[in-house]
């Protein structure tokens, strides 16, 4: 015990950590929901299972989202720059929020999923379509919500250590610490991850030396988070949080390019101060935040380009519970974004002032029917954006069946690169905007030995003023020259059965997306009626697990359909299927839990490409050791 105590002190001092505090490594936990976006009624939301979170955390956010949600992701290499598509849109059409604060890079309009340090994150949700409109605009495809590590509810201290090592030079370590003493609480997390990614592959683009090892693909990530808070009294809570991450990446060559010296360094800081007040029939949340992002790109001539952005983002949300099961929520945002780049803006700085207000009225009786109406208006640099709104309804005629749907209008503002890139930036660009609707149904049963939930949604959206970069003379410039129409179906099944002491769990998800250009950029544009590039029409994923006491065996399978690589759909990447398996066991002695997981990724050693001519690893192994003090 004395040694364990000493270890914990050393761990805390060294502050290198990874992992997630939960009551159990094997079974999903019940999560705290106080920080969450209150998603719109009639919309779809998915949350990452805590078991998968624990197993896949070492592989990063891209892998987690690809495994479980309806998102399609693609990365240039393991741990490399990652893009994503929700409901057929692009990365720029998805808002990423941290505790409700939008964190997308205003220059690029997206977040690189590979830069997110997950040790300070307790849950990940995806809010599809306009589900996140109650909190933020811009998420035409959806919103990815990261919820920071939540504090303990009771007095005391808990800690978790996570160590892992795997194929191709991957290893990492992490610690999470949480404590609470009466009215004061805090969390601390630290993590370190690295991977050489020096896996063998077959180069299909050359006649000589086809059997190669990927070079120049090392990734190193360091993460730190800290929160301190005080429950001032029964009604008021003050919390300060900071999340830091830095990622140093070598940018690997493709099969068709020469060796490269390119490197990319990212540093992100998210900090917030939040005051929460609970009234008898109301709640108030006021958040002030500072978002910082820095990118240093070093090219083949070892010349470094610097991009820097900073933003202050202040949000206020007030919720009032009215008679007749009505909930009124009003809120406002005041954002100030600043970006500077020595290449994109030729050392110029650009500012963007962004204000928004919204009001929402929900009708939420305990049974039968719930409905919501929402209106939101954003003002960007003094210009009014398209009015946004949502009308949602959910009907539960029985306790096992429900139908739901919504219609909404959303928009996406041009990025700062779209507006100010030199040369070519177009300050006259309009925001992309459009209407969308969705309708779905579901069943669920819950019993002692059998749980079952199935949900399916049809969605459709029409987006106008889609921004595309095209040359005007010699200069590439963004123009509002396309329109895009998306529709599709999502279906999700979750079930578990207990047979004696054995529990079987099955999660499955399937999505069909038809996302097509409906209006071309010119008369000769052959992209009209064609699927957007790198958006698979079919995608399916599933996990089957068997649990016996604290021993589990999990098999995961993933299917990604054919993806077109040119806008006229004349070239494509073939579909691929990947399998993985994990076996894990945890041992509990009083307050101590020790867990061990062993995973095999790409079980059948399939060769595949997520992005054209970018090799991906074959079969690989990972061993993960967790210690938890509760």
């Amino acid at each position: 015990m004395k040694n364990i105590g000493l270890c914990l002190i050393l761990i805390a001092i060294s502050a290198i950590c990874f992992g997630q505090v939960s009551d159990s490594i094997v079974y999903p936990e019940v999560r705290v929901e106080s920080q969450r976006i209150s998603e719109a009624i009639g919309t779809s939301v998915s949350e990452t299972d805590s078991l998968l979170f624990a197993i896949l955390q070492s592989q990063g956010l891209t892998k987690i989202l690809q495994t479980e949600s309806f998102i399609s992701t693609r990365s240039y290499a393991p741990g490399g720059i990652a893009n994503y598509s929700v409901r057929g849109s692009g990365s720029q059409h998805t808002q990423v929020v941290w505790d409700g604060i939008p964190i997308n890079d205003p220059m690029l309009g997206q977040t690189d999923l590979s830069t997110v340090a997950l040790n300070g994150i307790s849950s990940i949700r995806v809010l599809y379509g306009s589900a996140g409109l109650t909190n933020n605009s811009g998420g035409i495809g959806g919103t990815i919500e990261l919820q920071s590590l939540q504090p303990r509810k009771k007095n005391g201290f808990d800690a978790k250590l996570n160590l892992y090592a795997g194929s191709f030079g991957a290893y990492g370590v992490g610690v999470q610490l949480r404590d609470r003493y009466k009215f004061f609480f805090g969390t601390t997390t630290v993590e370190y991850h690295t991977a050489k990614n020096n896996f063998p592959y077959l180069n299909l683009a050359t006649l000589v030396d086809r059997e190669r090892v990927l070079e120049h693909a090392q990734v190193e990530r360091i993460g730190f988070s800290k929160s301190v808070g005080a429950q001032i009294n029964a009604r008021n809570t003050l919390t300060a949080r900071v999340n830091y991450s830095q990622v140093d990446r070598e940018l690997s060559p493709t099969m068709v390019t020469t060796t490269t010296k390119e490197e990319l360094f990212d540093r992100d800081i998210w900090a917030s101060l939040k005051w929460s007040r609970l009234g008898n029939r109301s709640s108030l949340n006021v958040t002030a935040s500072y978002i910082y992002g820095k990118q240093e790109y070093s090219d083949n001539n070892e010349y470094t380009y610097n991009h820097l952005y900073q933003a202050s983002k202040n949000l206020i949300r007030y919720k009032l519970y009215l008679p007749y099961n009505l909930q009124l929520e009003v809120g406002g945002d005041i954002f100030s974004e600043h970006a500077k780049s020595d290449s994109a803006f030729v050392n110029d700085s650009h500012w963007r002032q962004w204000q928004a207000i919204f009001a929402s009225l929900k009708y939420v009786p305990k049974k039968w029917v719930a409905a919501q109406v929402l209106v939101r208006e954003d003002v960007i640099n003094g210009e009014f954006s398209p009015v946004q709104g949502l009308l949602g309804v959910e009907v539960r005629p029985t306790n096992w069946f429900f139908v739901k749907g919504n219609v909404s209008r959303n928009f996406r503002a041009p990025t700062l690169n779209d507006l100010y890139w030199r040369p070519g930036g177009n300050e006259d660009l309009k925001s992309e905007s459009g209407f969308s609707w969705e309708a779905g149904f579901g069943f669920k049963t819950k019993g002692k030995k059998f749980n079952f939930r199935f949900e399916s949604t049809y969605f459709q959206s029409e987006i106008d003023n889609w921004i595309i970069w095209l040359p005007l003379g010699s200069i590439w410039t963004p123009q509002n020259k396309r329109a895009v129409s998306s529709k599709g179906v999502e279906a999700q099944l979750t079930t578990s059965v207990n047979v004696g002491k054995v529990m079987f769990r099955l999660n499955g998800a399937y999505t069909y997306v038809q996302s097509e250009v409906s209006e071309g950029s010119s008369q000769t544009d052959n992209s009209v009626g064609k699927q957007l590039i790198y958006v698979p029409k079919h995608q399916a994923k599933g996990q089957l697990s068997i649990h016996l006491g604290r021993l589990f065996l999990l098999y995961g399978h993933e299917f990604t359909g054919l993806r077109y690589t040119t806008s006229d759909n004349q070239s494509s990447l073939p579909a691929y299927q990947l399998s993985w398996v994990t076996i894990g066991y945890e041992h509990v002695v009083k307050k101590h839990v020790i867990g061990l997981n062993i995973s095999v990724e790409n079980l059948f050693n399939k060769a595949y490409q997520s992005i054209a001519w970018r090799p991906m690893p074959g079969r690989s192994f990972m061993i993960n050791l967790q210690y938890q003090f509760k």
Partner: protein, 357 residues
């Protein structure tokens, strides 16, 4: 119910797993395993007469391709390089150079040059180790020079060993390069200069400052060198057209474009040597070699990425990359700009090379 559901899903997925390739059994490279036609079918083994179109492809996407247009029956074969050799050209196919019975394809972002048998396009050698090659000038059967976008060098290639044998240091990006009367001339895109190189000593022996971004050049029948400057991709100055004496490097004629955004490029001469063609932002232009002023209106309107003149017929071919992410178009025009044919090629068609008997 659930089992039926799963079976339906599996059937649906399996049905969508189609292999790409040539599905026409009449084609030379018919692939019996392919169920999705990808336009790679090769129908003719003869490339003796026609137009090669080298399609750059997208940066880092490896989708460069080579197309061949038969001027007689107007048939187009696409992706012929990969169809014949079973490998992709690479990333950003930049230029074509021929020498005797050999064709060289310079692939910029792959840092390599493919050496092909000109008759059947079979790969003979893969010349690697070039920084970022752009254009190639063949001095003799042993030596060639290659300009580079990066690397601050002109690469020297030994055509017997098919290896890089040396380099000549230069200042920044170098673009078009041509041999003329035993000497070599190349353009410095960042130094804004025309250089003269002695191939016996591998030394730059003379140079002349022209203007921002000299991008395109041609020798006329009288031996004069014509050079276009773009004025800069970021519109630093008005573009200009020069006529330079290649012996003295004196500028004998110079004229300035009126629009800073004209971005003239793709300089080419008619077979008779009487007319000069180029493209700019509003279309294809044609001027008499003896003219002292630039033409004021295009002979064919549009935004074109590549252009060249057929030395056998005098017809002009211009390329349209559309959105730069789909198969582009090539317009075949008479020498005065009348449209004769339009055909589809690969992604971002740029270089046109004419082969005739």
């Amino acid at each position: 119910m659930r089992i039926t559901f799963i079976i339906c899903f599996l059937a649906f997925f399996l049905g969508s797993c189609k292999e790409q390739g040539c599905t026409d059994s009449d084609a030379l490279n018919f692939d019996s395993n392919a169920s999705n036609e990808d336009g790679s079918c090769v129908y003719s083994q003869s490339y003796a007469e026609g137009v090669f179109v080298l399609n750059e492809g997208n940066f880092n996407s490896g989708n460069a391709s080579l197309s061949f247009y038969n001027k007689v029956d107007k048939a187009v074969a696409t992706k012929i390089f990969s169809g014949i050799n079973g490998i992709p050209i690479g990333d950003i196919a930049q230029s074509i150079t021929t020498h005797n019975d050999v064709m060289y394809l310079v692939v910029n972002n792959s840092g390599k040059i493919w050496k092909l048998e000109a008759d059947n396009l079979t790969v003979v050698a893969e010349i690697t180790g070039l920084p970022s090659p752009r254009y190639m000038a063949i001095v003799n059967s042993v030596k060639a020079y290659v300009t580079n976008f990066q690397g601050n060098e002109i690469s020297i290639v030994n055509l017997e060993t098919d290896m890089v044998s040396g380099s000549i240091p230069v200042n920044g990006w170098t673009e078009e390069i041509k041999c003329h009367d035993g000497l070599v001339y190349f353009l410095g895109m960042k130094s804004n200069t025309l250089y003269k190189l002695n191939p016996n000593s591998d030394a730059v022996i003379d140079s002349v400052y022209l203007g921002v971004e000299p991008y395109s050049m041609e020798f006329d029948p009288q031996g004069n060198l014509w050079v276009l400057t773009t004025g800069g991709y970021d519109e630093q100055e008005l573009p200009r057209l020069f006529r330079v004496n290649p012996i003295t490097l004196e500028i004998e004629f110079e004229t300035t474009f009126t629009s800073i955004s004209a971005y003239p490029s793709n300089l080419a001469l008619s077979p008779s040597g009487e007319h000069l063609y180029y493209t700019e932002e509003s279309g294809l232009y044609r001027m008499e070699l003896s003219a002292t002023q630039l033409p004021t209106s295009p002979i064919y309107e549009g935004q074109f990425y590549g252009m060249n003149v057929d030395p056998f017929s005098g017809e002009v071919y211009v390329t349209d990359a559309i959105d730069y992410n789909q198969k582009g178009l090539v317009y075949r025009l008479s020498e005065t700009g009348s449209e004769l044919d339009v055909f589809q090629v690969g992604v971002i068609p740029k270089t046109l090379y004419f082969k005739g008997l």
